[in-house]
């Protein structure tokens, strides 16, 4: 074997290890947490419309903090990085949360009707989950697509559109969580 062959073989070995390290699935508990928070949050639009702003004002930031703790614990148990990977996740999800907080200013300032706030936020969520699927965990692509479909659903379904979306979103994240835990590294 030439030196070049040896180098190529070693580089394939390195690439395989890097790909394996990058394929770590999302912790199971994180998926279940957002299945519950999102499922209830979406359903509330149809069931108790007035509670929605207060619910998300508490559930959004609290869920974010709990997620950060769960993610940190997961990384420690897995034995893989903490600061760098954590920062990547925090920037992604924190950025999405920030965009949603800013989107709330639109109806608050009267620039769009209050009824448009829900679909606009839903569209941001769909984009956030899809981008997470591209950059963090491929399973989130399907959740992003489901949310984008949900966006069309709530625009066209006059009743129970949000409740239906809440149930589907929760089921999708539970399925993602069960897959994440399948290899024993999910929680």
């Amino acid at each position: 074997m030439t030196s070049m062959d040896q180098i190529e073989q070693d580089l394939r070995y390195v690439r395989s290890a890097v790909e394996q390290a990058g394929a770590s699935p999302t912790p199971r508990l994180l998926c279940f947490l957002w299945a519950a928070l999102g499922g209830v949050g979406f359903a509330l639009v149809d069931l108790r419309d007035a509670w929605v702003p207060a619910y998300w004002a508490v559930a959004g930031p609290a869920g974010f903090v709990v997620s950060a703790v769960l993610g940190w614990r997961h990384a420690r148990r897995l034995g893989q990085g903490t600061a760098r990977d954590g920062a990547r996740h925090m920037l992604h999800w924190g950025g999405m949360l920030g965009a949603i907080a800013l989107a709330v200013l639109l109806p608050a300032r009267g620039l769009v009707p209050a009824s448009a706030a829900g679909p606009v936020i839903l569209l941001l969520l769909a984009l956030g989950y899809f981008q997470a699927g591209v950059h963090l965990d491929p399973a989130f692509r399907w959740v992003g697509l489901l949310l984008a479909t949900g966006y069309v659903l709530v625009l066209t379904m006059t009743t129970w559109g949000w409740l239906t979306l809440g149930v589907l979103f929760a089921l999708a994240l539970v399925a993602t969580g069960l897959r994440a835990g399948a290899d024993g590294t999910g929680d």
């Binding site: 890097v18 420690r76 897995l78 034995g79 903490t82």
Partner: protein, 113 residues
Amino acid sequence: MAPATDTPAAGPWEALDGLDPLLQHRARIAAAVLLSRHGALSFSRLKALLGETDGNLGAQLRKLEDAGYIGVRKEFQDRRPVTWYRLTPKGRRGLASHLETLDRLVATARARD
């Protein structure tokens, strides 16, 4: 142009001289690359990712540690001892230089094909 040989000093293989001998072992370079991407990794995680035995991985990591390329931190998690590894600034520089040389080597070899 002379045909490619295994002789490091022949033609494009001169670039081999620029390679860091410490990172010419596949487990050592893989560990260094993983540490540079993830910041810190435990011994058991490295072992799972690299598919090496305890003894071999321990020996390779000790060489990197002795050279000052990686730092080691031991702690207890759920009453179990866990050893964490991190790339030092010296290790980061060594890895960057090694990868740069590899890049040149691959480019030279491709130009010859």
